[in-house]
Point group: C2
Chain length 247, copies 2
């Protein structure tokens, strides 16, 4: 079993770069922290190295390529205040090949908040979505806050980066109805019947969907506001719509 104690070790220096988007893209690797996420990454067969402190519980890890690290090393790589003594270097998955487009998709247009993106990945997983299409200008899906908020769901369903206008056209060619979300010139979501196949687009926290996308959809829907709030949080709105359209 290998052992790394110094924060000046070359591996540690390299792994530290995975805290930035650029570092993740250049190396094709990303970091996860904590027992739950490391386990999920192991199940998904995406782990390159498991890093544990001597004090951490190593029982469930015997078959993996473990490296024992000092607390200083783990702290150097961690973005949480109280690291759990375990982290993993994971290999970025290849973009999944979507040969035959079918099922239920969540499309996300320029979502900025990592908590919102992670929560929507978790919600889409719970609702049994086929996959997520993450449009250009969104927060990086392998950002540690996104991974944490996803609660492991990032390992359960494909998250594909791409140009949303192209994907909307692909959905339409595959006869999958595409719903945009808007406040103006839209129908209440309850006017739509639940569907076997659909694509739902959620938009940027402040601006909503790009007008060019709203023009491409089959139908645009909104969630009625009964009280005085101006709007719903985007992840809450996604939950309401996905569970409604599924049912």
């Amino acid at each position: 079993m290998k052992r790394i104690d110094s924060v000046k070790n070359e591996h540690v220096k390299r792994w530290k770069k995975l805290k930035t988007k650029k570092g993740r893209e250049t190396t094709g690797r990303f970091l996860v922290e904590g027992y739950h996420l490391v386990e999920e990454a192991m199940k998904a067969k995406m782990v390159e190295y498991v890093l544990v402190t001597e004090e951490a519980d190593q029982q469930s890890l015997k078959d993996e390529d473990i490296i024992i690290v000092s607390e200083q090393v783990l702290k150097e790589l961690s973005e949480t205040e109280t690291p759990q003594g375990i982290a993993a270097v994971c290999i970025l998955p290849n973009e999944p090949d979507v040969e035959r487009l079918e099922g239920q998709y969540l499309l996300l247009d320029r979502v900025q908040d990592p908590g919102n993106l992670g929560t929507m990945i978790r919600t889409a997983d719970a609702a049994g979505m086929t996959g997520i299409i993450l449009g250009e200008g969104s927060v990086d899906v392998f950002n540690s806050k996104v991974i944490r908020a996803s609660q492991g769901s990032i390992f359960h369903l494909p998250v594909i980066k791409g140009n949303l206008e192209e994907w909307v056209n692909r959905m339409k060619n595959a006869m999958i109805p595409v719903f945009g979300t808007a406040l103006k010139e839209a129908s209440s979501y309850t006017a739509v019947e639940p569907l076997e196949q659909f694509a739902l687009i959620m938009g940027n926290e402040g601006e909503g969907l790009a007008p060019s996308l709203l023009e491409l959809t089959d139908q645009n829907i909104y969630i009625p506001i009964h009280g005085e709030a101006e709007s719903l949080n985007v992840a809450v709105a996604a939950g309401i719509l996905l569970y409604y359209l599924k049912s």
Copy 2:
């Protein structure tokens, strides 16, 4: 018009204490930051002082008791990284008197995360709930992160602190059906019909509802998980259930 430049001013020292729960409770005051929240607090007639920097836009504020403060003073009181140049000292509202219990209520059992609480207040407002009952052991509702996540909805509907077991009994006495949320020994939420009056209880992020509460409810419901996620975020789950029960 008054003016305060020094962070050592007695008012500033006193207001700084409003950043802690103890300070808010002792003085009966709390702070809000930013144009949108100050406006909402003004509409709700809960503002004692508006604090603005000389550079900030004061047009919409002429009728209020404004104090001009230095950027240092505002920074001292702020919990955000980029203060908008405006804040307000607000007076804590009296607990609303619920003489005749009717309508639709959201009850919260030991919710810990300020973002989750704020988002649920916003969602309950959007869904047109009558009020929120916040059980003992929950995060403080006048915590600045709760206020921010509520996006002003904290000024739109009553949030009453209380003992949830007592409140569940009051609801039942008023013939309002009470729904708990649970994973075991519960029905899918779609088995319930939407209702004119109801009370829904959401629980702690990790532990869910206290067993003593689950025993008191009329019916316990759950949201089916179709994918591999273990659960939904509590604010997303609240959104799905409130919008379903309302419709």
